[in-house]
């Protein structure tokens, strides 16, 4: 076999992490993006800045903050312990929480752009055709923003696959639990297993390229002009 069992385990864990993170962010990011696109309230600026923070913050800073918050003395940690599920750092779900924060702008920003591009008119038309605002959201805004959803989903998934610093801070390096592909490569390099590192790195490179290629070649929004 080309890849070792631990490599496959790491890849499977990575895909699971990215898949779950993307699903959660679809649910969280959509209302945030809609709010940012539609509202003119004072909190729009601050919220937009907070959402974009992970783009510029070093992953170690984000990871460190989350580690403290989710640790036994942090507010999140005390909350999760009171629920009887222990603390989240160094668990798979701890990684999921961290990834949700880390990849938030990759979901919200394309969606916000797609919602803004729809403009006011189709929503007004829907209102004159008896559709309530919620009805309008699902039957007009979501279908018209579909290319944005696809872009946001792909970017979020791919970005989560590529994370490293945050994982290391929050998840550590526990095989089958938190050791994702990027950490596995780091391990191979540390152990001077360069051939193994090469193989896994090659898989990651091919994956990333194909995902981005798919996104750039297939653009459903491109032909819809009017």
């Amino acid at each position: 076999m080309y890849l070792t069992d631990t490599d496959l385990q790491a890849i499977w864990l990575t895909l699971r992490l990215a898949g779950i993170t993307t699903l959660i962010l679809l649910l969280i990011g959509t209302p945030i993006a809609w709010g940012l696109a539609r509202c003119r309230a004072w909190w729009k600026g601050p919220l937009g800045a907070v959402v974009a923070l992970p783009l510029v913050l070093p992953p170690s800073v984000l990871g460190f903050s989350l580690l403290l918050a989710m640790g036994p003395n942090g507010p999140v940690g005390q909350f999760t312990e009171s629920l009887g599920i222990g603390t989240l750092p160094f668990t798979f779900w701890g990684l999921v929480v961290a990834s949700v924060f880390y990849s938030l702008p990759f979901m919200v920003q394309p969606l916000q752009g797609a919602f803004e591009a729809i403009g006011e008119r189709p929503l007004e038309v829907a209102a004159t055709l008896r559709a309530s605002p919620l009805d309008t959201f699902f039957t007009v805004a979501v279908p018209l923003a579909l290319p944005g959803f696809i872009t946001a989903g792909i970017l979020t998934f791919a970005h989560t696959v590529g994370e490293f610093g945050v994982v290391l801070m929050i998840g550590g390096n526990i095989p089958g639990v938190t050791r994702v592909a990027s950490v596995q490569i780091y391990d191979h390099v540390e152990a001077m297993e360069y051939m193994d590192a090469h193989r896994l790195a090659g898989v990651m490179l091919a994956f990333s390229f194909l995902v981005l290629l798919a996104m750039y070649v297939w653009r459903p929004g491109a032909r819809k002009g009017g």
Partner: protein, 356 residues
């Protein structure tokens, strides 16, 4: 008994709207004015697309807006036609029509079928909006607004985004609406010819204020309005075809107070028609003119004289029985002819436009 009572007060930077109107509950009411006059904003207030801080809107004894009352757009029994058809691009033509119909409680399918037939779009139902021409799109937009069985139809310059050819394509459908629809229509337009063809009632707006409102013929014949119509100053007469001269291919239409000859059309005697006479096509003579190329010469009495846009011109309104015509004269010729109210004159009408 007015059916629509609307009062709105709205202040935006650089624009304010302050209107208090009673509109008839039947026929076509045109909201007419130049761009920036507030006609579209007024229509959007009626639809609930704008929410002025101070407003009151009562439609058929139901309050849509008042202090403490606000009926959102999707609960108002309106149909709305936007300037650009604004069809949903992700739905077929039929999908667009069904969208509103499905959400209209208790609406029979009849409305949709009637709308499709009225606008002549049955051959387009399976198409996607981006494969339609501009004119076809707007016809679908109108049908979509009718398919919800509205109690009032609001139209925001439905022809303004179309070129002349497309306009000519849609106007007959709009005239059909005018004849067959039994709900009130509020039609926003800045085009005098559309207003002359379609409206029964006219509201003239300028800078967010109502300048005048009233029945079309009466309002168009007012010569004291500060609105600039340029070459479009003129009146509209409700007339009846009463004689067709096969030899000369001419047709005589009679209105209360006189009759006019015009080119023959394929219309039976007795048919009601609308005739538009522009002020620039009307001239006045004191004595009965001798032989002239102008076929329509009618006795009349000067009714009122008013200023025109150019200081060298005057608008003169003349009475023929209960009908009124407006003539555009130079100030000098009015002086030389001694045109004053009460003076008997002969009206020469150079051309008339017939609108079925």
């Amino acid at each position: 008994m007015p059916e629509i009572a609307a009062r709105f007060k709205l202040d935006w930077p650089g624009f304010s709207l302050d209107v208090d109107l009673n509109l008839p509950g039947k026929g076509v009411t045109a909201l007419f004015g130049h761009s920036g006059s507030g006609k579209t904003t007024l229509l959007r207030c009626i639809a609930g697309l704008e929410r002025p801080a101070h407003g009151r809107l009562v439609f058929n004894d139901r309050t849509w807006q008042d202090a403490g009352t606000w009926l959102p757009t999707h609960r108002r029994p309106i149909g709305y036609v936007f300037q650009e058809a604004s069809l949903f691009p992700h739905l077929s033509v039929l999908g667009n029509l069904e969208y509103g119909r499905q959400r209209s409680a208790g609406t029979a399918r009849v409305a949709l079928d009637q709308a499709v037939a009225l606008l002549g779009i049955d051959h387009l139902l399976q198409r996607k909006p981006d494969s339609l021409s501009g004119g076809e799109r707007q016809r679908v937009g109108i049908a979509r607004a009718l398919a919800v069985s509205p109690e009032i139809l609001l139209m925001d310059e439905p022809l303004a985004a179309l070129d002349l050819k497309r306009k000519q394509e849609i106007l007959p459908y709009l005239e059909r609406l005018h004849d067959q629809l039994d709900i009130p229509v509020i039609y926003v337009s800045h085009a005098p010819d559309e207003v002359a063809r379609l409206a029964d009632h006219l509201v003239v707006l300028d800078a967010g204020r109502v300048i005048t409102a009233g029945p079309l013929a009466e309002t168009l014949a007012r010569i004291d309005l500060p609105i600039r119509l340029g070459e479009d100053v003129g009146v509209v007469l409700e007339a009846t075809v009463d004689h067709i001269d096969e030899t000369w291919q001419l047709m005589r239409v009679t209105f209360p107070g006189g009759s006019l000859w015009t080119r023959a059309r394929d219309l039976p005697p007795g048919r009601r028609v609308r005739v538009r006479v522009l002020a620039r096509d009307v001239s006045l003579a004191i004595d009965e003119p001798g032989p002239s190329s102008i076929q329509n010469i009618l006795p009349a009495t000067v009714d009122a004289v008013g200023p025109d846009e150019h200081p060298g011109l005057l608008l003169v309104r003349v009475a023929l029985g209960e009908s009124r015509l407006v003539a555009r004269l130079t100030r000098r010729s009015a002086e030389q002819l001694g045109i004053v109210a009460g003076r008997p004159v002969h009206v020469q009408v150079k051309s008339v436009a017939l609108m079925e």
